[in-house]
Symmetry: C4
């Protein structure tokens, strides 16, 4: 096996000892990289440990850069990797630090490297968690149309209600424009309720009450959609009986529950 | 085919090339119309672009007016269109701008034209989204009685609790009247929690805690109702009876439950 | 039929014309009674319409008192009525106004008469709504143990977390005592989030974040409990086939879906 | 039976009269113990009743200490008890008061004795509540992987969104560091919404709106997971196989799915 092929296996797969070691070291580097960006933004820490944070940030960035180049070099079809989801994330994980040389502050964008942590399940061979994750992903994928329609309806509702509240409450109570009133309507309908803007007239409070109760009722919709999908997935057919064609067996069944034949 | 009939087909249907174009152009006009009303309400934008916003608003209004008149003229039964859901929305989409000539500020009501966007699914032939939407609508329709009873019960609860808190906290802590205390109770029970009014006495905070835990438990009710409906809907498979065309059969049915014929 | 028996039928049942009229008039009186108490608490209204509000309040109170006495007189077993749920509510609907003669402010308690509105479904013959209500009531009754255990667990969690936050944040950040910190924990865990008390130290905000994510996850529990109950209720057996004993038929089935026999 | 064995039965079991009495007295002591710690933290009460609170606290602590020693002495395998869940709780219930002699304030940690109340169901023979609790526990246990993956995904989302908002809003609007912005993102996504930090720029409010609607949609995920688990649990009927004692059969099973024997 050529060196390139061997490196490809180590870097992109986890089925070799070296590959596993590579991935775990990478995971540590990602965690340190995310932590450094976070701590760098805390004024007290930045003031006292500027040099060390900066050094670590650059070490991590150079590691990520080398790794990115290596990945491109060893991949059989580099362009496929570069434009894959992980390829883009890997690129974005290193580039902000370089840009920050020209444009101050942009290195905080490097926090996007947190998304590299999505690989953790694959790396640590947590296949049961991968299954759990994909079960959720499938349920969400099956629900995507219903949820899209739901969110579309919610958007129309908040546009209409937001404008109405702009007319009722007006700029003097914090509803300074329709977009800001729509922001308020979203804050209210989703039950977040910051309280940075809140209705002060009686009519405004009455309408706000209606929206809240509406929000209380319609939060049932996305929940119902996903619940129904997951219930369905749980009931999904697992095995078919060769004798009687009964298909509704449990995952752990050995004999058919209708005719008693072996599955 | 008469011109009127042809126009009817173009305006009300999307199965011709001209009809599709008409609808897409209309969709763009609606989006621009909604955006203009929103931007007009933002003070900084209004100050700087008053003339252009005003012009666009009037252009859109005239387009909508002409379209509305045209729809009435070409419809085989005009009164049916005028009093349909979309007929009323179409009317309300244009009229506020005219009223604003006499009554300043009312043109913001034109934002109701956002509801015209409900047509987007039909226009863009997103039939799968239409199906998703009607699945939700059916589940909500089936749940309407249960949700009504639930909201009625919630209203009685907030009336009693609101009055109680008015007695306990009193006007000096922001509970200035029973209606306002009821508003607070709704804000709390729905877990919105603005914090514009919040209990300050120990007894008030104790009762508020009870309400919150109650709200935490009863939010389960509407969610459960809709979930159960959607689970039920998912479990109904479209097996159709060859004799009587009844389609509402279970997955495991062998005989039609309406006519007894074999499926 | 004696007068007493006839009056009993009119007052306690709705199957006569006079009985229906009596109930509808009573419903109107209750609504007016609740509204008067509410409006009376609004300072501006109270200042201007004190006399009229007071008069109406007393008229309603006397109507309720006479009705209460009448109910006792005509009921075959008065004590059974007096100590029934509605008997107690009916008593509490009138008495606060009398007490307010000696103890100012207590007449606001008369708002408890709102609970008399619970009769609305029975009076207006909204039997489908009654069914919907009892379906919810049954689901909640079946879930009562699970929900009790859940709330008990939530209480233990908020006691422990509240005390912890009292030690971490302390009185200078609004966590003035353990009970108040527990109040904060409930406000946070239930996602109400007034913001009247909020953590200010880094450690406090870190722990608060944990609680919120915990709260986000455990809100699933009561919802899941009620959903599961309602799904189960929806799946409840409706009809049994006389030929093959298959029981899993839909409400509207006429023929057995397993053997094709008539149900 | 030796005294030690008899004491063991009384202290660790509830099937004797003395055992029941012991447990009920202990329950009262725990409740008093928790209450005393709570009241002690309320300044006004502490100022006026310092001596009595202190005395009760020490009496309770000594009772708990003696009980703990007794439990160790009578248990057949003391080390097993000491390192069990309840053993650790029992230890932690007494120790903070002793530590407070050297380190002021630590006695508030004694509130952890509230966890001893978890025994209440076993003591009061509320076996149906125990069943309800274990049904929830099983559903949560089955959901633990899905919920872990979900929380992991939520954490990555709040890290990325928090950093983005730090760049957009900046320290002048309260987003003083990335960790604090992440705290804000959690407060928002979980719909708690204190309002201690809230976006003030238009772009910030726009992104916050997206997060809220996202949060509104993804709260469906944990709820769906637990609902689906509980629906599944409800559908599993306890039909037991006479040959192999397997109990996990479906309601409609005729043959055992493990050994193929007739049910």
């Amino acid at each position: 096996m050529s060196l390139r092929k061997r490196l490809y296996r180590i870097i992109f797969y986890t089925d070799t000892k070296a590959g596993k070691l590579f991935d775990v070291l990478l995971l540590v580097a990602i965690l340190v990289g995310v932590l450094v960006v976070m701590l760098d933004s805390v004024k007290e820490i930045n003031d006292n440990y500027y040099t060390i944070l900066h050094t670590v940030e650059w070490v991590i960035t150079i590691i990520f850069s080398l790794e990115y180049i290596l990945r491109i070099l060893v991949h059989p079809r580099p362009s496929k990797y570069i434009f894959s989801f992980y390829g883009i994330i890997d690129f974005l994980a290193a580039i902000p630090t370089y840009i920050s040389l020209f444009l101050a502050g942009t290195h905080y964008l490097a926090v996007i490297r947190a998304l590299r942590l999505l690989r953790v399940f694959r790396i640590l061979k947590l296949s049961q968690y991968l299954d759990a994750g994909s079960a959720i992903a499938i349920a969400l994928k099956h629900s995507r149309r219903r949820i899209s329609v739901f969110i579309y309806a919610v958007l129309l509702i908040v546009i209409v209600i937001g404008s109405l509240m702009y007319l009722i409450e007006g700029p003097e109570h914090g509803f300074t424009s329709i977009p800001r009133s729509i922001y308020w309507a979203i804050v209210t309908l989703t039950t977040v309720g910051y309280g940075d803007i809140s209705p002060e007239t009686s009519l405004g409070q009455f309408i706000a009450s209606l929206i809240m109760i509406l929000g209380y009722a319609i939060i049932a919709v996305p929940t119902g959609i996903v619940s129904a999908e997951l219930v369905k997935a749980n009931q999904q057919v697992k095995k078919q009986c060769p004798s009687c064609d009964e298909i509704n067996h449990d995952e752990d069944a050995i004999f058919c529950k209708k005719c008693g034949g072996k599955l």
